[in-house]
Amino acid sequence: MTENAQQNLKEYVTAIIGGQLFGLPIVRVQDVFITERLTRVPLAPPEIAGLLNLRGRIVTLIDLRRRFGLGEREPGQTVMAIGVESRGESYGLLIDSVGEVLKLDESMREPNPINLDARLARVSEGIYRLDGQLLIVADVDRVLDIAPNAMAA
């Protein structure tokens, strides 16, 4: 537990989306909640699953399966969301299930494989090789960077 070792460790909240393990920096995560009473938004980009009221705040929900191109979710199952904030606005990132919090050494992170799906490469900050599976580090700001023009058509 020296200063140095501390500095190299970063904590991630992990989540499974479409069978793939992702990690989000814990400093960006506000809370994890179950989504209920979702309001859909007509004419919105497809990634935007809808809005909900979380303790008096309107939260914009972003479907990470759609955002990452990982197929549609089966209807009827309870959907978890990771709450994040960006520029004073609240977002909920829809995931399939939330996993444990991992402390990972910064130096172990590897760059994106060049053949990584473009939709993932766009948001990925790198890859960790864990026991038996890969963890994609998602950059919250890039996940939220949904260009309004991309969908208008």
Binding site: R37, T39, R40, P42, N53, G56, I58, T60
Partner: protein, 871 residues
């Protein structure tokens, strides 16, 4: 002690803000003893309290300022220097208060400099009024401020005054000043203060969060009870539910504040600026009571201050320049705020020199915002928009006031943050105005909750005129012209659109015959929004859309309903815009893309396209048509050589569009019905083709009588029919039956201002027919130029909705110039709302007439003529 000190700081800061404002007023109105009394009283209180709390620096300053003010009260003229000195003193007091708040004690240092100046000023004033020195309590001393008899034990004001004056000025000396005099004088204020208490914003925010939690919990409970039919909880829960709703509403209301709070510091700022810059500036403020959410208020405070500074510094000219330009020496900055169509509009306008277009352009090119070739293609308005780009401060010289690099980009950022928009309008030499539009943000509005495609939506009630349930065969019938559904509502045809279709929930155009029609008005456009169901109205607190959704024009915000669910707020403006698009999208793709582009333009008109006598299409603005009828040809009668039809219990004359149109002898005869008051006439046509939303741009003026000219509509040359031509054919006296003013020796001259060539062309003959010499202008600036060139008109008739400078601004410009201030102005508008009429009255319209109300216009003209003659 801490609490006492904190309260003192807060209270004193507030008092000082008032002193700021009042002093500036006093300087302009030096004879107003009431203002001076007020200022004096506040400073007096501050001084007294300082003594009580042992704050020698503050006390000494307040005392010195008070002494100088005492001179004013003794009848000395309040010179600008003296007022400046007092204001500086107040600033110093504020500084000391600030560190007092931080460090719980007065900062070190002394104020000898200021006090010296103040005393010097007192000395300068002294010789002018010798009696002030020896006697303290002469009758002229003060207008009696106390409005009730003295209570036992109280000292008279004059005695107190003497006590203050006789007190030695040395700061450390203990003061006899007790808080009592302040309290005595503040009796009325104290009563007011008891009506309100101070709560920190954090407390309110916390309360708000807790209420939201409560609402959610209540909803869960309601859900549980719903599943158990006969639950004992039902009744108490209902009670809980309504109490919660009221609580929520109450807490939300605590967040609202009048915009005047954000303007409070402006009179002082403007006053200081006008001294510093050597300009005469009048600051006008209208609508200070308009309420805004506290958060929004905080965010627009600085932008507003910045814009007012800009106007004073760059916008307004020096008195010499103004005189040379033929303007009054006093420049004017006007701030106004009002609610409009579910938005809060804040305007900052000045009558200065306007933006320097060439300068902005060269600057934009230098900054690499636009290439030189592109810049040449931009319109003035587009170039003006560059002032919102970073690094575009255009002040030729950097003054202490502005031009320090913090520019309009910062202003724009702040306004963006609250989901608002800012627009700039500038007329060189005439003035500059900024319009900030805050879309409903966080304001509480009444909304109609409707259902469309299985989801609920809110429509701001301010845009809703009425709700109609359409039924086949009823008075309110839905009809179709080709693919466009229209509602026949009394004397109007309204285009209809299904909300679920607009929102893309239903891909089918859907049948509009069932469901409710929300009759909506936006600007000059009326239309019906068809929804599946209507629930109720609810006061909603509008929250800005997520930045990811703000591009969707159909929504202006979202909100949390009383039951805790999130709901989207439909923007009627957006619906109006997309109506044109939907109509167009049913046509061929390429054409559609083109007309969509056109529809996005603000000046589109709904046109009824028909054929009569030739394959070439003809068109008339839908708004002029009262009804479309198809009658059985057998019902047409011939009377006195004219075709007539019995219609709604009256005989209605039929007029053929031209010789080539034959009145049918069998089958159905399509008619366009025009009504004016009780009379109706019908135009016989061959076929009604379509309703099209397009820009009406009459290009070639027609040779035929009855045709105003041709326009390209959906890529086809179309004749635009002059309805005014046909009306007299039906009734010879259509325009001149009763209201024609008796011709004076000279024909009265009239200036008609309207940006639409159609209305200019339509109204000119009508007005000529009632005896006016009509001159038309296509824009307000053109009209102003005519006045500038020395033309005189007896009366002005102007449209309200015009690009660049609208009718309101035009009227204000006329009022501002003494040469034209007396000319009566009649406004024409397709929207006649109470709000608009009120605003019209404020800017000086003499009358306000609906655009198609010819008789109303003629009556209004007659009235103005009568007034003119009487005068």
């Amino acid at each position: 002690m801490d609490d006492l000190l904190r309260e003192f700081v807060t209270e004193t800061n507030e008092s000082l803000d008032v002193v700021d404002v009042e002093l500036v007023r006093f300087e302009q109105d030096p004879n107003n003893a009431k203002i001076l009394g007020n200022v004096f009283r506040l400073v007096h209180t501050i001084k007294g309290t300082c003594g009580f709390l042992g704050l020698p620096r503050l006390e000494a300053l307040a005392h010195a300022a008070e002494t100088l003010m005492g001179k004013f009260r003794d009848g000395h003229r309040a010179t600008s220097e003296a007022v400046t000195l007092i204001l500086t003193t107040i600033d110093r007091i504020k500084q000391i208060l600030e560190s007092l708040e931080r460090e719980q004690r007065e900062p070190d240092g002394n104020d000898k400099d200021l006090i010296g100046d103040l005393e010097h000023m007192v000395g300068q004033l002294a010789p002018a009024a010798p009696p002030a020195a020896p006697q303290y309590a002469v009758g002229t001393l003060a207008p009696q401020v106390l409005e009730r008899p003295l209570r036992p034990g109280e000292d008279s004001l004059d005695d107190l005054e003497r006590a203050f004056r006789e007190t030695p000025v040395d700061p450390p000396a203990p003061k006899p000043a007790k808080p009592a005099p302040g309290e005595t004088l503040k009796d009325d204020d104290a009563k007011a203060a008891n009506q309100s208490i101070r709560v920190t914003v954090d407390t309110l925010e916390h309360l708000m969060t807790m209420v939201s939690e409560l609402v959610l919990t209540r909803n869960q409970l309601l859900e549980i009870v719903r599943q158990h039919e006969d639950s004992d909880f039902k009744v108490p829960l209902q009670r809980l539910s309504s109490v919660t709703a009221e609580l929520q509403e109450g807490v939300m209301k605590t967040r609202m504040q009048p915009i005047g709070n954000a303007w409070q510091k402006l009179p002082r700022i403007v006053r200081d600026l006008s001294n510093e810059l050597g300009k005469h500036i009048d600051l006008e403020m209208q609508g200070a009571e308009t309420e805004l959410d506290r958060q929004v208020l905080d965010l627009i405070k600085d932008p507003l201050t910045h814009m007012v500074r800009n106007s004073a510094d760059h916008g307004l000219e020096t008195p010499e320049q103004r005189r040379a330009a033929g303007k009054p020496e006093h420049g004017r900055i006007r701030l106004s705020a009002y609610h409009e169509g579910g938005h809060i509009i804040i305007q900052v306008a000045d009558d200065g020199r306007g933006l320097d277009t060439a300068r902005i352009k060269s600057r934009a090119i230098a900054q690499g915002l636009v290439s030189e070739t592109d810049a040449d293609k931009l319109s003035e308005t587009q170039i003006h928009k560059f002032i919102f780009a970073p690094g575009m401060s255009t002040a030729a010289k950097v003054t202490s006031v502005s031009g320090r690099g913090v520019g309009m980009d910062v202003v724009r950022n702040n306004i963006d943050q609250i989901g608002g928009t800012i627009d700039v309008k500038s007329v060189a030499g005439v003035g500059l105005s900024f319009t900030i539009k805050i879309p409903l943000t966080l304001a509480i509005v009444a909304a109609l909750i409707v259902e469309a495609g299985g989801d609920r939506f809110a429509i701001p009630q301010i845009a809703v005129i009425e709700l109609v349930r359409a039924r086949a065969g009823g008075d309110h019938r839905v009809e179709r012209i080709k693919d466009t559904a229209v509602l026949r509502l009394r004397d109007k045809l309204l285009p209809l659109a299904r909300l679920s279709h607009l929102l893309g929930i239903d891909t089918e155009p859907g049948d509009v015959e069932s469901g409710f029609i929300v009759v909506t008005q936006v600007g000059s456009q009326s239309f019906g929004i068809v929804v599946d169901g209507v629930f109720h109205t609810e006061e909603i607190v509008v929250k800005p859309l997520s930045s990811k959704l703000r591009h969707i024009g159909l929504f202006s915000g979202n909100t949390i309903l009383g039951d805790g669910s999130v709901i989207m707020i439909v923007d009627p403006n957006g619906v109006a815009q997309s109506l044109g698009t939907v109509a167009a999208s049913q046509a061929e793709t390429e054409e559609a893309a083109k007309s969509r582009h056109v529809a996005a333009d603000e000046n589109t008109t709904s046109l009824l396209v028909f054929r009569a006598g030739s394959p070439q299409p003809k068109a008339v603005p839908l708004s002029l048509v009262t009804r479309l009828e198809e009658i059985d040809a057998h019902k047409i009668e011939l009377s006195n050589g004219r075709h007539m039809v019995q219609y709604r219990g009256q005989l209605m004359p039929l007029v053929s569009m031209n010789d080539k149109v034959q009145v049918k002898s069998e089958g159905a005869q399509p008619l366009l019905v025009f009504s004016d008051g009780a009379r109706s006439m019908a135009l016989v046509v061959d076929e009604i083709v379509d309703i099209i939303e397009d820009r009406l741009d009459i290009q070639v003026s027609g040779g035929d009588s009855g045709v105003l000219g041709s326009a390209i509509i959906k890529g086809q040359a179309t004749e635009i029919v002059d309805v005014g031509h046909f009306l007299p054919l039906a009734f010879e006296d259509w325009f001149r039956n009763k209201d024609r003013p008796k011709l004076a020796a000279r024909r009265r001259s009239l200036l008609l201002v309207d940006d639409s060539p159609f209305f200019r062309n339509m109204l000119s003959p009508v007005l000529q027919a009632v005896g006016y010499e009509v001159t038309a202008a296509a824009s307000a600036s053109e009209a102003l130029a005519m006045f500038k060139a020395g033309r005189e008109f007896d009366v002005v008739v102007t449209d309200i909705e015009m690009p660049e400078m609208n009718g309101f601004e035009f009227a204000e410009a006329l009022r501002a110039d003494p040469a034209t201030a007396a000319v009566p102005v009649i406004a024409l508008s397709s929207v006649v709302s109470l709000e608009a009429v009120e605003r019209g009255r404020q800017v000086g319209f003499h009358d306000y007439v609906a655009k198609f109300d010819r008789q109303g216009l003629i009556a209004a003209l007659k009235e103005q003529a009568d007034v003119g003659r009487a005068a």
